[in-house]
């Protein structure tokens, strides 16, 4: 068995050049919590591994004018330990905290969680709700893509050959904004979402919802942005009637499969229940964030 070439470029552009120029199978290595298992299982036999841990912009968090830029390769634990980010985006943190054990989160990155493109990835519905955009470096330069457009199917993402996600941009937070993520699993931790829901809302001075975004996970071939669910909240005080419409719209957007973790009918029902509960938490956080 021939060994794998291992490179540790210092810039995203150098990483892109290595990945785009490779002749055999080339893989980007960030946290490695998915890739090393795939390699061990023989699902992936790379000829080249490109570690991105020496690329500064991919391993740091920065703020500019209220906007957060999260390095795609920074560990989940490093994000969870960032007090400013936790205060600004508690719903994203709800999701990131669920990605795995402390050990796994010590390596696993949000970029990996998104690019691995599991429909059940916890961070994705929360990032979609947050309106996060992925910054992508590629052979033709840089571009940005909304997170909801990055996953296209189980294990498949929208990146072209040689492209890598370097960071995620989360927009400036208006006053009275709050977000939340809830998921259903048969046990409390160390499990894969049967349904995941991210809700992000902004209230005006009178407590009326003036902006909302809803992301759904594990109920389709990819995580979904659900504008109909968000529309159920906008213009309301996020009261019982609005929450009931939100739940109905979330359930209606589901196109799940039956599998060992949950049936189609169960997922459709639970998506509505969790959307309602997540919206209630998001509303509470928005009221506290004024």
């Amino acid at each position: 068995m021939s060994d794998i070439r291992f490179e540790t470029p210092a810039t995203a552009e150098a990483a892109v050049a290595l990945l785009a120029g490779a002749t055999g199978t080339a893989k980007l290595l960030a946290g490695g919590t998915d890739l090393l298992i795939q390699m061990r299982g023989g699902m992936v036999e790379p000829a080249l591994l490109v570690s991105v841990k020496n690329i500064a912009e991919m391993n740091m968090i920065a703020t500019h004018a209220g906007e957060f830029r999260i390095g795609a390769s920074m560990s989940c634990m490093a994000l969870i330990e960032n007090a400013d980010f936790v205060a600004a985006w508690p719903g994203v943190i709800d999701a990131v905290k669920l990605i795995g054990s402390v050990q796994v989160k010590g390596r696993a990155s949000v970029g990996g969680n998104v690019c691995n493109a599991s429909p059940a990835a916890d961070s994705v519905p929360a990032l979609i709700a947050a309106g996060a955009r992925a910054v992508i470096a590629g052979p033709d330069g840089r571009r940005e893509l909304a997170v909801e457009q990055l996953g296209i199917g189980p294990g498949r993402n929208a990146l072209a050959r040689g492209e890598i996600v370097t960071s995620f941009i989360l927009p400036r937070r208006p006053a009275r904004s709050g977000d939340a993520y809830l998921r259903f699993t048969p046990r409390t931790e160390m499990d894969i979402a049967v349904v995941g829901v991210g809700v992000n809302i902004t209230l005006d001075e009178r407590g009326v919802c003036c902006a909302a975004r809803v992301g759904l996970g594990a109920v389709a071939e990819r995580a979904l942005l659900v504008p109909e669910a968000a529309a159920a909240l906008v213009g309301t005080a996020v009261d019982d009637a609005a929450l009931a419409r939100l739940a109905g719209a979330a359930s209606a957007a589901c196109r799940p499969i039956d599998d060992k973790r949950g049936t189609k009918a169960f997922r459709i029902k639970v998506a509505g229940v969790l959307a309602r509960r997540a919206a209630e938490i998001a509303k509470q956080r928005a009221l506290e964030a004024s």
């Binding site: 291992f6 490695g32 090393l36 560990s75 795995g100 402390v102 050990q103 796994v104 010590g106 390596r107």
Partner: protein, 158 residues
């Protein structure tokens, strides 16, 4: 292809080794360096038996490549006892009979030490969540949790 020549620090001591890209840090520790205190359970990051610290952060050594340890500080169970004496956590695991077969124990100890460094006064719930990535098939966890809480108490009073 030539092996990688890795220079790193393990339990405070400078260490050099040769490894292939595909070798995990766990394989390097056990098979190249004969540091067999770190155990292999699942090899897929689910059981925590191979827990070590990497630059102070708790990780599964089966999910880190040996070559990735270059220039970093690795902490293993072999670095836990202080001088000739056991670490408080090790002593409390014995006192509380928090181990039976022992395969999970080094991972639990390394993970528990990492918890108490970050949070010297954890609640029982916080201990349970922090150690959720460490599996034990013998004890039923209760004695492990009690040992960690007792060790935390003693370390706070020291």
């Amino acid at each position: 292809m030539a092996k990688h020549h890795v220079t790193t620090t393990i339990n405070g001591n400078p260490v050099e080794y040769l490894c292939e890209t595909r070798q995990t840090l766990l394989e390097v520790l056990r098979d190249e360096l004969d540091m067999t205190g770190t155990k292999e359970g699942c090899g897929t990051g689910d059981c925590g038996a191979c827990s070590v610290t990497l630059d102070g952060r708790l990780v599964c050594s089966c999910l880190v490549l040996g070559v990735e340890a270059a220039g970093k500080a690795v902490g293993t169970i072999e670095g836990m006892a202080e001088g000739g004496g056991l670490h408080v956590l090790q002593r409390k695991f014995l006192e509380h009979a928090a181990l039976q077969c022992g395969i999970c124990t080094p991972g639990f100890l390394v993970a528990a030490r990492s918890l108490l460094e970050a949070n010297p006064d954890p609640s029982e719930e916080e201990v349970r969540y922090w150690l959720a990535g460490n599996l034990c098939r013998c004890t039923g966890y209760q004695k492990i949790i009690e040992a960690v809480l007792d060790a935390a108490r003693e370390m706070r009073e020291a």
